[in-house]
Symmetry: C2
């Protein structure tokens, strides 16, 4: 943690530069909130007009502010901010919150002004939060530098860090609606200096904060973000709402992996790796944070449903299943005990339906039995308006049972005004209430997901001791040298594509081989005779593939022929293919034809890696072939990978699942595929210059016989 | 509409049998609600104890009830219900709501009692609603036969029909929370007599009802349900919440189509065909009903976003895109007009960000510009707590703009208590308010979906004039005759599978050919020589496939060989295949081997149909081959189909999309595939006895060359 940031949360004296006498101005709101917050340090108001404000004297300039003063809030017109920053530095204030807007968000002039602020701050040794932010808030210190309309958030144990100031106002109000208290809140604004990743440790170390929530529009340093959140999430759960899914778009790319690895896939993989939980809505973010703060983590995913009516019970079962939470199979003893308590028409199988007449005591007794069943990892209690009892009484009876258990319980109060009393009783006991089974199930799933992420983060990445990084380094050096030479010579390098250079097939094969990935036997022929001779040497049948660095998708131009059975077929195929390819791509430089021994039948998959500009090496696995972008049976993960990570990656796709065999497809050598995935992940992690690597297909041979890269493409980033 | 059901909603006198003096009893609640509802007909209370209740005399028996009396509510112990029904009939009452529980839901004895009730009702000419229901409620008549806790639902224009009584209580309260009024509410209970489908027209014809909502746990007569809802939905939108997704499970089936066509796929297809909107949660059902009642339908899917802050604007864009609603491209004139109104830092491109300082007047003026843009079909207004104005004032300014427009507008009030005033102003003007952009976008999507469904329902099914139903009828008759003979002979029919008989390949081919579906040339050989001769006659290469009605999945047992190039290969292949199949399935009766001319390369797809027990012929289309159940690139639709239906079915899968060509895959004869889908749908619709039909693969040849069924399986239901 960076000590220079400490005064943002532990200032001994706060100066408001631009405190306004005019109640409709934001500069008034900031002063009002700071005074009302109960902040116990010194408060200094600065306004050239002087006078008194909120029963306090107003200084006419920053230089006149008495000690102690170590945090300034600037809410003056944008063009005045650089000078105000200098004045603060002169006065010895090293931390400034720039609340003012009118910077980068307002066009080129604002951008220039923002850059000036950053420069001034750097030169003067001032840490700057903002501009265009609403500051920080700590309900325990207490401290409030925002202009949020009162009453502000409840005090509690959930922190919120946000790129958007408006979302701070939203979260303050919506958290209050959920009975959820906030510990610290930070608005980052344009991040001219301080970023979300720098602030994270400062918020995480706050002893009052038990759960962190983030609203992100991006991250400023992907790898450091993953490192920091991964470290923090082991102690304190992190729930992220990342906006801008739709703006993600596709990146310019030449491989399938590159085309499919959109920004959102990278974010999802990064959050997965960090053990950060990604919510899709504000409601989810806050409800999940509440569950993580209030509930114990479940030991598994099997849930029990307790209901007083059939329809709501079925809905609860649907909602749980949709979240990947199966209904627990109740032990015979549990069912027998329930049968003893319940009327004959009740259902003692999960969902347990104790009928509309159920008393508060019956609800409580049945919930206790369910939570005592070792096969039950958590429970969802459905409470539609009970016709014969008060919902509040039922809630009251449930409280001690939930509190006595080490398993999470959500209560669904499916109603409106008649539920208010129940809501209050549950919240007072820190038991989450939900309006719908769907949101309750999603919160239980977030708990289960966090428990699993904690386990996952313990797994070390796979390690290999037979790698040949030197050989790869040499190839990369060669390519970069050639590219530089090409650029110097003024003509484009062979196989150029935006941002990189394609390796030829044989060079790419060398790279894989250096990392212990088996590559199918192949050689390059420059004439029909040479091709026939090579084929005869390898054994038939063979495949022919055109060799041209400018043609990454060979089959698109007729550059692939399969199953050629003898030398004559190879020779005539060679001629026919060259004619086809030349007419389709007259500008491409053709370096001959690859002759490849055809492999035994097996399961073909795609394994790829791209160097994500934010998060580094991003792995893809899935159904390969030419249709990979259409079929979209692919999954992503951030490298390096542990073996369980690789297993999860395979299991997320049909391509991976069918490796275990399916109907007439025999089991393939799944272990060998995992090995290739792990080695490729290591390769991608070791060589960030390999911008895109794609094995398509990787053929998984029958079990025990390995997996072989049939075709591989590698793009090396230019020097 | 069935006139015998009318008294449920227009009774001239209501008798409560089992009206209780005890306030904690449901029999008291029913009397309390009926009296409090303001029902203007006669109210008669019956209880053997007599006396007075709620200031009214209590009759000691039904026989003594004076005129008028045409609807009875029975809330007596279950065993007393049959006699009570008889007493009602004797008194001339022909409609009874049986509120009492303790019937089918309570086990075998209860089931017997319920059957007795149904019999008594039938014999006495009484229409029975329930048992185990909470009756009916009409806020306009008014009438309330339920025991819902006061205050009950608001009066309005949305009807609710429910299999679950508890969901009536939930909907009454949650609709009130949304400011949504209810017209009629019906609880169906166990449906011993009256079903949801019978009641639908009665509720739909109510002039106060403008939108129908349904909570279903199933449907009692699938085809009639589709017919009725399809007719009603053209006049009044229908939103359905169907519970029991997870319980759907897989049916016993021998074809891929059968295995994949779970109950839920059939429900989705049925709702799609009927133009019914399926919600996943109570919130969605009510919010969408509110939107359908309050808003005009959009002419398209392009939406505008108006926001006063960047973060919420991005969230709105994400939410719209996730619902299939693209951001509208604003006309240059609109952008220019916005630019004139807004400060420089604002964004005049969609999402339009008018900054935190935006006044109510600015919000209104900008919304007017957006709604006037012809490329905008609707709008989503984001309102996080505005720092300098009251949310209520913004809402007030928006109202006349929204009301003057023929486009739907949702307002997202992202906050808590500070939004209450805004909520009330919007609702008073019938403008939907939402807590999150996600729920607002989903409601807009429901409006767009309903508008599209209205268009879809106008399309007639495709009609063919070259079909040969007689030939099919003959095959079916033959099979049923054989099956009956087989059963009579005491041994299982050839090719038996649960519920049907497999047709042999050649018979199945005959069936397709009769409906004008091209089938690949093939013949059956009983010896290696015969196979070689057949192949030489057809031309090479050929495929061999084992002919055995007991082996539906031939490749699973090595019963398929491809690409045999000459007579010698065919002859030796014949012998090898028989040996393999006999060792894998010694019990199977092998009737020889099919010899099939191999077709030119093309795109293989699967087209199937199953006779759904609820909804009739259900079509499947998608990626075929052996992996169809793993890959799950399939979509379903209810037969018969219109051409646009078939187009939608194809477009829902990658298999269908790639027919237009993809990279090296040339465009296939998509029109021929549509033709096969339509003809197969007609076949399935014409012959309900064809329990499963599956063409796998159907090979789509290059564009203009047609599509050919390569392999087909048909199961005929046994007689």
């Amino acid at each position: 943690m960076d000590a220079s940031l400490l005064p943002f949360f532990r200032p001994s004296g706060v100066v408001i530069v631009g405190a306004s006498h005019e109640p409709s101005k934001l500069g008034h709101g900031v002063a009002r909130n700071l005074v009302a917050s109960g902040y116990r340090g010194a408060i200094h108001l600065v306004n050239p007009r002087g006078g008194r404000l909120l029963d306090r004297p107003v200084c006419t300039e920053v230089a006149l502010v008495p000690d102690p003063a170590d945090l300034a809030i600037l809410i003056v017109p944008a063009p005045a901010v650089p000078d105000a920053l200098r004045a603060c530095a002169l006065r010895g204030i090293r931390n400034a919150i720039v609340t003012s807007g009118g910077f980068r968000e307002a066009g080129p002039e604002g951008t220039a002004l923002e850059e000036e602020c950053a420069r001034v701050a750097r030169e003067c040794g001032v840490r700057l939060l903002g501009p265009n932010c609403i500051g920080v808030l700590d309900t325990h210190l207490p401290l409030d530098t925002t202009f949020l309309q009162p009453p502000g958030p409840l005090s509690g144990c959930v922190a919120f860090i946000s790129h958007s100031g408006a979302m701070c106002a939203v979260v303050a109000e919506q958290a209050r609606s959920l009975g959820l208290g906030i510990s610290r809140m930070v608005s980052l604004g344009n991040q001219a200096d301080v970023t979300e990743t720098e602030l994270l440790p400062l918020v995480a170390e706050d002893p009052h904060t038990r759960v962190l929530t983030l609203f992100l529009e991006g991250v400023s340093d992907g790898r450091r973000f993953v490192e920091e959140t991964r470290r923090i999430a082991r102690q304190k759960p992190i729930v992220v709402l990342k906006a801008g899914r739709s703006a993600g778009g596709q990146r310019a790319a030449a491989s399938h992996t590159g085309a499919l690895a959109g920004q959102e896939a990278a974010y999802d993989a990064a959050f997965h790796r960090a053990g950060v939980i990604r919510a899709r809505t504000v409601e989810e973010m806050l409800e999940w944070a509440r569950a993580l703060e209030w509930c114990p983590l479940p030991a598994g995913r099997a849930m029990a449903v307790l209901t007083n009516a059939g329809g709501p019970g079925v809905m609860a079962a649907d909602a749980l299943e949709a979240c990947g939470l199966p209904l627990a199979e109740l032990q015979e003893a549990t069912q027998a005990a329930l049968r003893d308590l319940l009327p004959a028409a009740a259902s003692v199988r999960n969902p347990v339906d104790i009928l509309a007449s159920a008393s508060p005591e019956l609800y409580a007794a049945c919930l206790r039995l369910l939570l005592d069943d070792p096969g039950v990892h958590g429970a969802l209690v459905m409470l539609p308006p009970p016709p014969m009892h008060l919902a509040g009484s039922v809630a009251e009876a449930l409280v001690p049972v939930v509190q006595a258990s080490a398993k999470p319980v959500m209560v669904v109060l499916m109603g409106g005004d008649s539920m208010r009393d129940a809501t209050e009783r549950l919240r007072a006991a820190r038991i989450p209430d939900h309006l719908s089974p769907e949101s309750a199930a999603a919160a239980l799933a977030a708990l289960a997901g966090h428990a699993e992420a904690l386990g996952r983060c313990e797994q070390p990445p796979a390690v290999f001791d037979d790698l040949g990084p030197e050989a790869v380094r040499e190839v990369v050096r060669e390519v970069i040298r050639d590219a530089v030479r090409g650029a110097a010579g003024g003509h484009p390098a062979d196989g150029a594509h935006s941002g990189g250079t394609w390796l030829t097939n044989d060079t790419a094969g060398r790279v894989l081989a250096a990392y212990g990935i088996p590559v199918s036997r192949s050689g390059r022929a420059r004439s029909a005779d040479e091709a026939a001779a090579l084929a005869s040497q390898m054994g038939f049948p063979v495949a022919l593939k055109v060799a041209s660095p400018q043609i990454p998708h060979k089959s698109d131009v007729g550059g692939v022929m399969l199953d050629l059975a003898d030398a004559a077929a190879v020779a005539s195929g060679f001629a026919a293919m060259l004619a086809r390819v030349r007419s389709a791509r007259p500008e491409a430089k053709i370096e001959g034809v690859f002759v490849q021994r055809m492999l035994p039948a097996g399961c073909d998959v795609i394994v790829g890696a791209v160097a994500d500009p934010q998060f580094g090496p991003l792995m893809m696995f899935g159904s390969g072939g030419v249709e990979v972008e259409g079929l979209r049976d692919t999954a992503f993960a951030l490298a390096p990978l542990s073996r369980p990570d690789a297993d999860t990656l395979l299991a997320s796709t049909w391509a991976g699942r069918r490796l275990r065999g399916y109907r007439s497809l025999p089991p393939a050598d799944r272990a060998a595929v995992v090995e290739v995935v792990l080695r490729l992940a290591q390769l991608a992690a070791d060589f960030p210059d390999l911008a895109e690597i794609e094995i398509n297909p990787l053929r998984a041979l029958p079990d025990g016989q390995g997996a072989v890269a049939v075709d591989v493409r590698i793009v090396v980033r230019r020097g």
